[in-house]
Subunit: 355 residues, 2 copies
DNA sequence: CCATCGATTGAGACCGGTCTCAACATTTAA
DNA sequence: TTAAATGTTGAGACCGGTCTCAATCGATGG
């Protein structure tokens, strides 16, 4: 056998066919396990393929079959552990059913989301899983549907679009957490969220860009209203996205003369910023301020104090989403489905009565 | 205009050509910005493309050009914040140069790594960025090279393969950190790492699967040797991968009658497990035990005590790796290059003198 | 012994782009 | 005014698979 370790053109079906002394069509049938092939030919072709180190070209296959076996996932921020976990759920579920995953970060930006979507469409992706950056500007999402590729929304829903969606029980979760704080005796409660809005404070509740945020604020407000606490929106803060901004907004909040005595954080990144800032201004949790965070990030149980959290089944969310998407890809034609997953409040050490 | 919002076959170059009343070849030239096209035709074709909502089929393009504009990244665990950040560096760098990224998790398993590699090859990826799961079983990595697609190793190197690699100064980092602990007065020092080996303790230093681990242990041991501390391998622990195992190994270590008084953790996940376990067994950091962790994870500065860390330029690592890979993709033919990025010790509150 | 049927096989079109090459148009130079 | 050069365009092959369809093979049955 000649030494041919050098760079050689990858083997094609034709090469295998030649070596096995059959036609290209027959070799393709044997390699692609479709059509009928005699046992003798099968072994010959298999041997030839092995000898040449043949690997099929998935692009060529997709070209004719129209199916890429790949699903696209667009998330705002994979570094957010919540989405990180959800994405792993998606990956695992996809892998189990023979699909691959392409992941794109949108940076919570609609323009980038649109660009990402376009890239994926051009790559002939079979279907999409999207945690949309905003529920306002959605023309690009509708376009996808027109092309005939299924979309399932993850974590955030936009009912008007008529897509399948898997979400969490955000309103109930927020209400439950808020009630826990109220039960501890708090009356000055704050909710801090990363998600959109130009300004940081709430003027009117309309035009909230994300279903999750809207729902949580609804639950938060409802709990306050039930307890007869006035002006529920007073300590709500928006758009706390980057680390800089977070420190700022939180510091401002904590410097108020009648500062809140309890904070509900919309994700673990915000909770972290709160931890850092309270440390800076020498406030102690939970003595000076109580904290509950959305998402049971791994560090929340290891800190002192450990933090009380709304545990979200992020991994299951991912599994569920991908399984719904694959059903659609395989032809399911039902009206849009909506699934809501329950969260669970885990009480730890970061909540106590106000001073 | 007729209502045709329904599912319609996506427009092709041929469709655009028909509408613009030019040949397919001309339309393709206009759309793909290659060859020469008159201004008049250009506008006609552009208009037709817009009218039809034409989006090119990247697979077809790759089919003939042989370039997919996509690079594949294979990492052991994206949920490890260190790799998460590195991957973001890769993504950003790739996007800036017009490349897309496909990310695959290997779960630090060689078989999965091999499978992932195969999938990517079949998708005609232009090049690979790999943090190899082991430096022993590497036949599959060599195969890739034979196919003629460039590979750059990230974080972990395997010189024998002759690939480009970007790594950190692990040995120096470990030595520096260890010296800090020794300077504080510690003589019973432990190093705990997630990476491979069946057993948890070290018999002989040969056969350590990962360059990072080997280098760090070398630095760690050298510092101990320089200080005249005997039996440097005594408190070294391996294979602390899952959360369960971590708690176990660490608890065992802390229950030793002559337990170590200082621990160097190989990543932030391990540091977290240490935090959790010390909390469980009611040891206080740094009073009872000092801690230094590799990777400046975001939470390490927010905890009480904040933790002293070896800050790794993970994002820059990703940027550097992707830029080297793209150079190769674009034809650079030089002998394998190796780049080493410096780390930085950030002193915080988790180190003090032993009791 | 020949017709019939199902199982295999090969030839060639096709997917949607790119690219080569020849034909034609328009200038420019002589 | 004509030859040469440059600019544009169209026809058709090609990438590496899949798939349709007709041809061939062997076996079965009358």
């Amino acid at each position: 056998m000649a030494k041919d370790q050098g760079l050689r053109r990858p083997a094609t079906v034709q090469d295998v066919a030649n070596l096995a002394e059959v036609s290209k069509a027959t070799a393709a049938r044997a390699l692609g396990q479709y059509g009928a092939v005699s046992a003798r030919v099968m072994t010959k072709v298999t041997a030839a393929a092995a000898a040449l180190g043949y690997l099929p070209n998935d692009l060529a296959r997709t070209m004719t079959t129209g199916r890429s076996g790949t699903i696209g996932v667009i998330v705002g921020d994979i570094e957010n552990p919540y989405f990180g976990l959800a994405v792993r759920g998606v990956s695992d579920g996809a892998k189990a059913r023979g699909f691959n995953v392409v992941l794109v970060n949108s940076g919570e930006d609609v323009a980038e989301e649109k660009a990402a979507l376009e890239v994926l469409v051009r790559k002939q992706i079979d279907g999409f899983i999207i945690a949309p950056a905003a529920s306002g500007d959605t023309a690009h999402l509708l376009n996808i549907a027109t092309i005939g590729r299924p979309v399932v929304l993850m974590d955030r829903e936009i009912p008007a679009l008529g897509f399948d969606a898997v979400v969490l029980d955000d309103k109930a979760a927020a209400k439950r957490a808020t009630e826990l704080l109220i039960a501890a005796g708090h009356t000055r409660l704050s909710y801090i969220t990363a998600a959109g809005m130009k300004q940081h404070t709430l003027c009117d509740a309309t035009g909230i860009g994300l279903s999750t945020v809207a729902n949580r604020i609804a639950g938060f407000s409802e709990a306050l209203a039930d307890a007869g606490i006035p002006d529920p929106h007073r300590y709500i803060r928006f758009g706390v996205t980057d680390r800089q901004g977070a420190q700022h907004v939180i510091a401002d909040l904590l410097n108020l003369s009648d500062r809140p005595t309890a904070i509900l954080a919309s994700d673990s990144l915000i909770a972290l910023a709160i931890l850092r800032t309270t440390k800076d201004v020498r406030l102690i949790i939970p003595r000076d301020i109580s904290l509950i965070s959305f998402h049971d990030a791994d560090w929340t149980s290891a800190t002192t104090p450990s933090v009380t959290v709304v545990a979200q089944p992020a991994y299951d969310l991912g599994r569920e989403v991908v399984s719904m998407l694959i059903e659609r890809i395989e032809g399911l034609a039902e009206p849009p489905r909506r699934r809501e997953l329950p969260t669970r409040l885990i009480e730890r050490e970061s909540v106590s009565a106000p001073k």
